[in-house]
């Protein structure tokens, strides 16, 4: 079929933000090694080496002055001119993306652009670099170098295509890649799957994707999910929080790598700030970094399989499980992890309506 204009836009943005996270797609955090990238909680996460970026220290970035920033961009037979006349035009956007993270009050994230260079090798060179990357799709990626369980360097290859196609909210993909450089893997949440059908103006409960999702919206602001992830990796002094933990089963056995969302109930009773995690191989999960208050939980299979390849390889429950919403609020206190009742996902989902592929 010819998709509706809305669907066409939606599919396009899905493809446009097909990011390559290095070194491997984990969940929530990158683990200590490439082979052990499934880090569900912050204590298993790979931190930055204190010798490179210790607490209260500032990480330096170098912006490439390579001429590719100004290259035209080919997309489906059309040629688009680069919005940049030089690398200097890129600099304000990089600074804005860095500030999105460094403005998080509960996190100790200090980083800046220290300079620009014409020649930056595409290799590990102890320089955290942001380079232009022109492909046949507007795709960007972050290469995170981990050794001995610590992050030593991060390089971002960024497509000017994001700036061509996504207009005024164009820093979104840069914010995403910088999140990988912090040590964050792809988020489990995808609220705009709902808003693909029912956009935020229709009053969706969760109108904005986390920046660490496989990004279907282009709002560069961090969400609660991003803020908690960054704060757990690089906590500011005095960051105190609580959590929720429990188990999920599917068909009587551990539900491997299914998605859970905890949504905080605001003072007015409305669902608000949301955080997501995956279960581990045993179907266990743990939310960290939660502010005190009451929360509702939802569970279901992962969305956007391309964002979580390593979880698929590890046997994630994908097809057949229904989404489940727990209706009894769970109370979270500072310094404690609330035990949630067991969640038993059941078979179903067999009647999924298959949407057609984008033609051409």
């Amino acid at each position: 079929m010819t998709p509706t204009p809305r669907l066409r836009r939606f599919l396009f943005s899905l493809f446009a933000l097909s990011l390559l996270a290095g070194p491997a797609s984990g969940y929530r955090f990158f683990g200590g090694t490439i082979d052990d990238s499934l880090a569900p909680v912050s204590e298993n996460a790979a931190p930055w080496s204190p010798s490179v970026w210790g607490p209260s220290q500032t990480l330096s970035w170098v912006l490439s002055e390579a001429p590719e920033w100004t290259d035209s961009f080919e997309w489906r037979g059309e040629t688009y001119e680069s919005p940049f006349e030089s690398a200097s035009d890129v600099l304000p956007h990089v600074r804005a993306a860095l500030e999105a993270w460094s403005d998080v009050p509960t996190a100790d994230i200090r980083w800046r652009v220290s300079g620009m260079r014409v020649n930056l090798p595409r290799a590990r060179d102890h320089i955290n670099a942001i380079r232009p990357h022109v492909l046949d799709v507007p795709a960007s990626y972050a290469a995170v170098y981990i050794e001995g369980g610590e992050i030593l360097e991060c390089d971002i290859s960024f497509s000017p295509g994001h700036f061509i196609f996504f207009g005024r909210q164009r820093q979104s993909a840069l914010v995403h890649e910088l999140g990988h450089c912090l040590g964050l893997a792809h988020s489990a949440m995808f609220p705009t799957w709902d808003s693909a059908l029912f956009p935020p103006e229709a009053g969706a409960v969760w109108p904005q994707d986390p920046k660490m999702a496989y990004g279907h919206d282009h709002d560069p602001r961090l969400t609660h999910d991003d803020i908690i992830g960054g704060s757990l990796l690089r906590p500011a002094r005095g960051f105190r929080h609580g959590g929720i933990e429990g188990e999920v089963t599917f068909g009587g056995t551990a539900a491997r790598f299914v998605r859970l969302v905890a949504a905080r109930i605001g003072e007015d009773g409305r669902l608000g700030d949301s955080v997501s995690v995956f279960t581990d191989e045993q179907g266990r999960y743990r939310f960290e970094g939660l502010a005190p208050g009451d929360y509702l939980l939802a569970a279901g299979p992962m969305m956007e399989t391309s964002a979580h390849g390593s979880l698929l390889d590890a046997g994630a429950v994908l097809h057949g499980a229904e989404d489940r919403y727990l209706l009894a609020p769970l109370s979270v206190s500072l310094g404690a992890s609330t035990r949630a009742p067991p969640i038993a996902l059941r078979e179903g989902r067999g009647s999924a309506v298959r949407l057609p592929e984008e033609p051409g």
Partner: protein
């Protein structure tokens, strides 16, 4: 003689002869009495509104007075606006026969009974009843305002400590794409006692996305608007505005536009996509799965997903 005068005389003679055939041919022509003046009929309901729940009935009294009624007459009550009664509503006492008389007054009762059904998201049903004016001119009427009867939806209790209510399902244009529509209702779930640990399981619709994905995967094909939770001691109340695609919306998403038909043939109509929201209420106080379906007519329990 003037021919025209002669003609008139001949007609007058003919009329006299005709009159003579009907009456006493020996006496004078009779006087036809004038028709009686129309009777005066007034009637009014004793209340402006009555409320009833599904499965209940209500009696609505009304008063009437008629003067100068020379013929039998029936005072009738009907649904205002000329519509038909819903299938789940029965009415009695809609006709009061009035016998001739100079001054007759009385009271009577209109009975409205609502049959229970399992639809818990019909919304409040408002019916208006009015007196039927005379169309013959025999009776001059002076009727009071119609009476409004509100039939409240009956909540559904799938499990011990779980009560479900829904507003009437509404069809709305989709924002920014008003040729397509969504269906929506606001569900209220009251959870008390053994129902507090109840969960909500989405059975459909799910939409399966493939492009760009490593594996096909499906996502919930519904949106939740303005989800609020009220806590009253050990009881919880959830209010969820749930929206799902209407048939035209799903059809537009799923079905390719029809190919150009051969000359002289009509294009095949697109298949109708299923536009139902199906969910289950699952919990320790539920003896079995309680599967519920919402469609354009409302929400109701269903045994199986078709």
């Amino acid at each position: 003689m003037n021919p025209s005068r002669l003609g008139l005389a001949a007609v007058a003679a003919g009329l006299a002869a005709l009159s003579g055939c009907e009456g006493d041919s020996a006496g004078p022509a009779p006087v036809v009495p004038p028709p009686p003046p129309p009777a005066e009929l007034s009637a009014s309901f004793q209340a402006e509104r009555a409320d009833l729940a599904e499965g209940e009935g209500v009696e609505i009294g009304f008063e009437y007075r008629v003067t100068g009624l020379h013929r039998p007459f029936v005072l009738e009550i009907r649904l205002a606006g000329g519509g038909e009664l819903p299938e789940d509503v029965e009415v009695a006492g809609t006709a009061v026969p009035l016998s001739p008389g100079e001054d007759i007054s009385g009271e009577a009762v209109l009975t409205v009974v609502s049959s229970p059904d399992q639809n818990f998201a019909e919304g409040e049903e408002i019916l208006q009843f009015e007196f039927v004016p005379s169309e013959t001119g025999v009776v001059r009427t002076d009727f009071g305002p119609p009476v409004e009867v509100a039939v409240a939806d009956t909540p559904y209790r799938p499990c011990d400590g779980v009560v479900l209510r829904g507003t009437g399902v509404e069809r709305e244009p989709r924002p920014q794409e008003e040729s397509l529509h969504t269906l929506g209702t606001t569900l209220t779930l009251d959870l008390t006692g053994p129902g507090r640990d109840t969960t909500f399981e989405l059975r459909g619709p799910y939409l399966e996305f493939i492009p760009g994905a490593r594996e096909p995967y499906s996502v919930a094909g519904f949106g939740i608007r303005d989800w609020r939770i009220e806590t009253d001691g050990p009881a919880y109340r959830h209010r969820m505005g749930i929206t799902w695609p209407s048939a035209d919306y799903l059809t537009a998403l799923l079905v390719p536009p029809p190919e150009e038909p051969p000359e002289g043939e009509e294009p095949a109509p697109p298949p109708e996509a299923d536009a139902r929201l199906v969910f289950a209420v699952v919990g320790p106080s539920c003896p079995a799965d309680s599967v519920l379906t919402c469609d354009a007519d409302g929400c109701y329990p269903t045994a199986e997903i078709q």
